[in-house]
């Protein structure tokens, strides 16, 4: 625990110390060193706790109505803390460099400080074990991330995004009020432990579960609560988008898992709700992603998709608990947590690579990019690794977790009774996989391959090492988990068992249901080997062959120009048109140009209109206050009279 607290302190110091240092190298290196050291220590503490299967706690007295403040690391906290710490370090280094070479280098200190606060509050959120502390950390996270989202507040859309984000996060906080208020009604005090004890005797448990699902869902951003996510991600600086997508939205997942941990096996309806929501947001997320041209928005919608996949895992776990298949519960939760970690890794990687591209080309519109693979080879490699990982194909880490979720679904099919219906999620997940493949083929191909579609792109050059090293770390992690998942088996099983409320979570036996993960490991390794062999084969074949260079075969067209390349809109068009109105895309077919523009169904279709309605209604009340004193006096008299009426009636 001391280890963790020291690390936490260092992260906080990373926020406070640099601003007081003199400008220049000292300040910069201080930030980097403090942040990395702090994250390293916290991660180490979490790893120790997880490996040692121990729950470490620290309590101190507080005079708030909420009771004591408790901070502790249990397996659930540990795995999230690890994710936060790793991403915190890598993204911090990246972001420091990125902001310096950005539009406001003079404000990089401010950005770094806010960033460190955000990381610290994230660490606190996942380790807080009492309500008031949790909510405080939660709001600190919200505020600091809000300030980072509107960092480039020069543009109107950034401010709009910030507004939407702050409103969404505030709503989730309010709902959390309600949830904890209800829950703590009969509890001793407001520590998580006593909430867990009070659960059994709760009168209205389902309301609490529902509130939790919605309140944390706003943060997690599953459909239809995802509306704030794309604008915020495309507005904020790249490393912030990376962190938001990597861990900030995962705090919503953490919250749901925490609620499940405290409340024990949920009712079946909860499991089904989560499963269905997961399926829906996975499908719609990837579908909407297909239609995007802003690369960061596109990645944001993929976060929606992956949150959906994670929720599929949670749904399996919840159903396993509800129908009395503890092994399945452990499997489901474990799979969800693993996919959370994986998504954190490769999504941050993707956002950073995209950020590097943006820094060089100053555009996020993929229709203007192209042919960057030969100008930014390393960035391309990073993005490519991220893409392979996110579409969940072997041999990278995305495959392992998606495979686990599939296994859960198939195991569900092997049970008896209603539980088997969960199998229908498998084909949905398959379709999602196919669409994700299409989408990343589109973005990778259009951004990095082919030829440059605009002049500015043509003279862009590779970014520096402080951009690439953090990405390299994450990429290496993706490979490691993809090729050697067996090393994680026990840890995942432990977390799953802890969430599932298995008393034996500490012992090795809990891992049985997840298995040793040696199957996918073997497969991935074999695939890698096969690729190597085939590569050697090809090399041998090609060695003494003549290799001519020639322009692309234009099928008879003499001069293929960059404008003749297949655009992203056209590439996605068949799939998008196949899903019709759901895809929320408006296509413009011109004589020479085909362009499609995406609209978010929930935000632009529902919320904006609803807000307009509310404003209109509010305006309709304006005449009340029209400045006539006599009218105001009439109100007073009316108030008296109505009170008198009550006076007469109320006896």
């Amino acid at each position: 625990m001391t280890l963790f607290l020291v690390g936490f302190g260092l992260v906080v110091a990373a926020a406070i110390v640099p601003p007081v240092l003199p400008h220049g190298a000292a300040r910069r290196s201080a930030f980097g060193a403090l942040l990395v050291a702090g994250c390293g220590l916290t991660a180490a503490a979490a790893v120790v706790a997880l490996a040692g299967a121990r729950v470490i706690q620290l309590t101190w007295r507080s005079y708030l109505p909420g009771g004591d403040a408790v901070i502790g690391i249990d397996p659930l906290s540990a795995v999230f803390a690890i994710a936060v710490a790793v991403l915190g370090a890598t993204n911090g280094i990246f972001g420091d460099a990125d902001v310096r070479s950005g539009a406001h280098p003079e404000r990089s200190t401010e950005a770094n400080a806010l960033y460190a606060v955000l990381v610290a509050s994230l660490l606190l959120v996942v380790t807080a074990q009492s309500v008031v502390l949790f909510l405080t950390a939660w709001e600190l996270m919200a505020i600091s991330s809000f300030l980072l989202v509107i960092f480039d507040h020069g543009q109107a859309d950034v401010r709009r995004a910030g507004w939407i984000y702050v409103v969404a996060t505030h709503v989730s906080t309010l709902l959390l009020f309600a949830m904890f208020a209800l829950w703590s009604g009969t509890a001793r005090d407001m520590t998580f432990a006593s909430l867990a004890d009070a659960w059994a005797g709760m009168p209205n448990r389902s309301v609490i579960l529902l509130l939790g699902l919605v309140a944390f869902g706003v943060k997690a951003g599953y459909v239809p609560l995802h509306f704030w996510l794309p604008p915020a991600h495309s507005a904020s600086p790249s490393h912030v988008s990376a962190l938001m997508s990597g861990v900030v939205i995962k705090t919503g997942i953490y919250g749901i898992l925490r609620v499940l941990t405290l409340s024990g096996a949920p009712p079946a309806w909860f499991g089904w709700t989560v499963l269905v929501l997961g399926g829906i947001s996975a499908l719609l997320g990837v579908l909407w992603a297909l239609a995007q041209h802003d690369v960061k928005r596109l990645l944001a919608y993929h976060s929606v998709e992956n949150i959906g996949i994670i929720m599929l895992g949670i749904g399996i776990g919840a159903l396993g608990g509800a129908y009395g298949y503890p092994a399945l519960a452990i499997l489901g939760y474990g799979a969800a947590v693993l996919h959370m970690v994986n998504h954190a890794l490769f999504k941050s990687l993707l956002f950073m690579a995209a950020g590097a591209v943006y820094r060089r080309t100053h555009t996020r519109n993929i229709e203007e990019l192209g042919g960057l693979a030969r100008r930014m080879p390393w960035t391309f490699l990073m993005f490519f690794i991220g893409a392979v990982a996110i579409i969940g194909v072997p041999p990278l880490n995305g495959f392992v977790s998606e495979w686990l979720i599939y296994v859960g679904l198939y195991d569900a099919a092997r049970t008896v009774g209603a539980m088997r219906l969960a199998i229908f999620a498998a084909p949905v997940l398959a379709l999602v996989g196919g669409l994700a493949l299409a989408c990343f083929a589109k973005v990778t191909g259009v951004v990095f391959l082919g030829t440059a579609r605009s002049a500015r792109v043509a003279e862009s050059s590779e970014v520096g090492s402080s951009y690439l090293i953090p990405q390299g770390v994450l990429a290496a992690a993706c490979f490691a988990i993809g090729l050697l998942p067996a090393l994680l088996a026990t840890a995942i099983a432990r977390v799953g068992a802890f969430v599932a409320g298995d008393p034996a979570w500490g012992s090795g036996g809990a891992g049985a249901s997840i298995g040793t993960l040696r199957g996918p490991m073997l497969f991935a390794i074999a695939l890698t080997a096969a690729i190597a062999v085939a590569a050697l084969l090809r090399f041998a074949l090609m060695r003494r062959r003549s290799i001519r260079r020639a322009p692309t075969w234009g099928c008879g067209y003499p001069e293929p120009t960059p404008r003749m390349q297949y655009t992203a809109s056209s590439f996605a068009s068949p799939l998008v048109s196949m899903f019709g109105a759901v895809s929320g895309v408006y296509e413009h077919r011109g004589a020479t140009i085909f362009h499609s523009e995406p609209r978010d169904i929930v935000l632009d279709g529902v919320l904006v209109r609803a807000w307009a309605r509310v404003e209109a209604a509010a305006l309709r009340l304006r005449p009340i206050q029209q400045g006539r004193l006599h009218l105001y006096l009439v109100y007073v008299v009316a108030a008296v009279l109505s009170c008198l009426v009550y006076f007469v009636v109320a006896r």
């Binding site: 198939y410 219906l421 084909p427 379709l431 199957g519 690729i531």
Partner: protein, 308 residues
Amino acid sequence: MRPAASAWIALAIVLVVAPGVLGVASRTRALLTRRRGAPVLQSYYDLLKLLRRGSVLSDTTSRVFRAAPVCLVASTLLAGAVIPLDGRAALIRFPGDVVALVYALAFGRFLLVLAALDTGSSFEGMGASREVTVASIVELGLFLSFGTLAALTKTSSLSGMLGAPLAAAWPTGSPAILMTAVGLFALMLAECTRVPVDDPATHLELTMIHEVMILDHSGPDLALILYSSALELSIIAAIIVTLLAPRGDMPVAVSLAVLAAGLLATGVAIGIVEATVARLRLPKIPLYLASAASLGLFSLVLVLWSSP
């Protein structure tokens, strides 16, 4: 996990027979349309010829273009390795290895599509777009079919779905199994871009799907791509064969013979289809895929309905 020798032999058979299946298909088609057509072994000659050729690389392309064929063939091979080709157990088997099968194929496809986009040609981009469109629905259908088998055999490993448990499930679940087999066949036609989804014999790029993607590949690269698409077809064909004729209890030799025969028979079947059915217009293809997938859906519902 000690892979039996029979599994190795079976894999070898598939690897060898794969191009032949295509040959048989085109030959059958030719005969049915009253043409002499190319010899059955023509596809082997083509591959050898390509392997001996040099190659031309487009100067817009990057490493991806050259990496694609390699990854494609490797992943297809691995996909074959998780199927119990000898009707007993696969070389690599673990719970949920169906996912490995489908996603390995997806990995190869991803690389191939990127290679197509790498050339910057609008035609290849078009082909890539169509390829991913078709493939995404095919995956849906595949998982529905495998879901049926999983619910039927209570296993999540292909070695179980197509091994002994399948044979045990035949008496009760034959309707579902047959429906699944038909569905798989239809999906195979789409996945391997045969008629009625795509016509390998066409020469108009605008109507192509698979062929147009690989326009710029030449020499050994092209050979690898062609070979792996043939291999993919044979793998799925092998699944269908095993579905229709569970070989868990046959002696090894017989089982292997049945496999080879079955593959060639599938080739004949494809040929018959191509000779009799007309190619669909592109807008109609999603409908076709949907109905193929819905076969899988029906069978799954049937299984869940009939067994407690």
